[in-house]
């Protein structure tokens, strides 16, 4: 079929009628599907059920360096957990601080700490007239929600196929001392799947920010979340690059096992320079006596080491891969060549990013909802929920089954087609 833009008004009208009929038929099926969040499926969760078996009442619940994990103490995390998460973060153990069950919580607390106490001796952000963050877009809604909640002004930076527009990033951070941070998902970025190029990482390491307390918030949420064995993205390790560039304190790396073991019952960590780690601990030591060491022990006993974790991630990939491919197949088959949308084919992560014709995203998501398909709200991938082009839609294929995804994709492409036809007719 030829691109919709080449169709005459009559052809579009006729097409609209056919699509509406098809849509009513799909709607009549009474489907209820939620594709709004990047949640692992039941089959993926089952992969980690063994985590519930590694510790029992007869287990040795003492860490490798003799700590009874059942009692108070050990602010930094037990030695073997520090080792595992240091390896996962590709940093030395001295650069790791273990937290609780959620890296989002670590990020939130890091911003909160900067608000009330500053960073490494800087003025608390709450005492400043203005604090700003750069936000590569499209990006992760929960990042933007944190900075919005703390009244931090967010500035959109385009996310290119190589990562954020570094010309813009370099210029802005050098000029404006109110810019204190940038949100990054450097690998299999949420939602685009983009992984930052080596040059981008190096340019990050060499930033010359006007603010001494500027930090790169490097949320490596999908560091080992590949979809394929034989093709995968590899990114440069940023802390090391920052050290080489003479900027060791400029980065906070965040990591967790949320999409490795169980979301909500995993372990999270901050990776950063020793100076940053000590600064974080100066806050944390008042906040808690220690995080859940039994859960740390449980994770290390289950995964053992990085090879163990890689093997586990291949099982996740085997479940996720067909789902991504199903969505991509339907998109290609149904929309390919029509000129009404483009989408990403990521090699990892949790999302497919779809860009509709300008001004159509909200309408498409609303249309899909009519037929029982809940998608991430249009605009969610932008600060303040405002997508300037109203075109980006995040597709989260992980939770539904392949069969459900086929249905979901059918509803989605019908919604895209209908809204696009209506848009084109409106312009005629």
């Amino acid at each position: 079929m030829k691109p919709y833009s080449k169709l005459t008004k009559e052809e579009l009208k006729k097409l609209k009628g056919q699509l509406e009929k098809q849509f009513e038929e799909v709607k009549a099926k009474g489907i209820h599907l939620d594709m709004s969040r990047g949640k692992p499926s039941k089959a993926q969760l089952d992969l980690s059920n063994g985590l519930m078996d590694v510790l029992n009442g007869d287990s040795d619940l003492v860490s490798s360096d003799g700590v009874d994990c059942r009692n108070y103490g050990v602010l930094d995390g037990i030695t073997e957990a520090r080792k595992l998460l240091a390896d996962m973060s590709e940093v030395p153990e001295r650069n790791i601080l273990i937290y609780g069950n959620s890296s989002l919580n670590v990020m939130f607390d890091t911003v909160s700490r900067a608000m009330t106490h500053g960073i490494m001796g800087s003025t608390p952000w709450c005492k400043l007239d203005k604090v700003k963050f750069l936000c590569p877009v499209p990006g992760y809604d929960r990042h933007f929600a944190i900075t919005e909640y703390f009244g931090i002004e967010m500035i959109n930076v385009p996310l290119l196929p190589t990562g954020p527009d570094m010309d813009m990033v370099e210029k802005l951070v050098a000029e404006d001392p109110a810019i204190k941070g940038i949100w990054c998902v450097p690998k299999y970025s949420n939602p685009t799947g983009v992984s930052y190029s080596d040059e981008t990482v190096r340019r990050f390491a060499h930033l010359k920010p006007a603010a001494k307390d500027f930090r790169i918030f490097w949320d490596n949420a999908y560091s080992i979340h590949h979809l394929y064995d034989d093709k995968r993205d590899v990114i440069l390790e940023l802390l090391n690059e920052c050290v080489k560039a003479g900027n060791p304190d400029m980065v906070f790396k965040f990591i967790s096992t949320s999409k490795v073991s169980f979301p909500g019952s995993g372990i999270a960590a901050l990776a950063a320079s020793r100076a940053n780690i000590e600064d974080a601990k100066s806050f944390m030591k008042f906040q808690t006596i220690g995080h859940d060491k039994l859960n740390q022990l449980r994770h290390v006993r289950f995964f053992k080491d990085m090879p163990g974790m890689y093997e586990h991630m291949r099982k996740h990939a085997a479940i996720l891969r067909p789902k991504f491919e199903k969505v991509e197949d339907v998109l290609e088959k149904e929309i390919g060549g029509l000129g009404i949308g483009t989408w990403t084919k990521p090699l990892g992560g949790y999302f497919i990013s779809f860009d509709s014709m300008d001004g159509c995203a909200k309408a498409i998501v609303a249309k899909a909802k009519e037929a029982g398909l809940i998608m991430t709200g249009a605009g969610a991938t932008f600060p303040y929920g405002k997508d300037p082009k109203d075109s980006n839609i995040r597709i989260a294929p992980s939770f539904p089954t392949v069969e459900e995804l086929a249905q979901a994709a059918e509803i989605f492409v019908l919604s895209v087609k209908l809204v696009s036809v209506e848009k084109l007719l409106g312009a005629k």
Copy 2:
């Protein structure tokens, strides 16, 4: 033996010589004991090993209302955990918000939230010139550390046998709008073991604070931590009293299972009015997607209900009781009637509070350390670590064995005697 104050200078000198000889003998034993913190002993931790057995890979990991506890979600905590901790807090389920592994963390985050966002719409505390907290003394060092960390001015309020000096509390909160809170451990108070009288609780409920965002920080850390079956303290439930008094929003109650199951691997909660719970959630929803639901499920499956928890606490009491009694016996036998110290005999909680002659506490703790006994630092039970009388010492008998405690008590009483004799000699 007669009171030291009645001894002549010569008698004191002779006594000093004898005590120094005894002390050298004890010191020569090369003892290393840590009695500084209220940590459960290994025997107590063993009581909860079954917690590691209740969930395994074949378990039904779905909550009573159908939530897969392995996946994201459920900000408030799973239904059965809300019920259990509501019962433990003696409030309806609608007044409970489940948090992570530590009530200290809940308290810290509550103060942090007030700093950056205020409470229920009030001005964020970080925007105010001055914020003050009332601190009943002696009290819990980690409470005081939180308020000090946030630059909150702390005002000492004497803790009487009935609870804080309510004449002073009523007057101060009514007069000074900068007073935003008061730290309370209402039952088996840390370190005195005092439980607040019904009148004290009612007067708390009827406070007329000048600050609308004044809150009572009610840390019910030892709510079910009795030492005896047949005698125990009972306190009025404060939230209910606040509702009756027309002040439903004035209290934050904090609770956890830290000294019920495993410290660091327990579950914690905030109990408060719905308006306060919604306010807390408006912060928490940006901070996390949810706390560890598997650990919530684990706790409910292990304890089942409050009778289950009470039965468990009786086992803790059976281990703790002889330790408290051993320390009390040695103190009575060795120091009773000498006029050089008084101490509490609590019916529950984790501490015995000792008051030496004025100006002796620091020296006693230092002396004990010489012989290998680490105690809580003198002054720690007061804001800024400053005990105006230098007399209060917190004794934490939980962690050592009864045999170790006998040794520890011997070192302690010798240290008290020596320092007291030196003090009296200095005054002659």
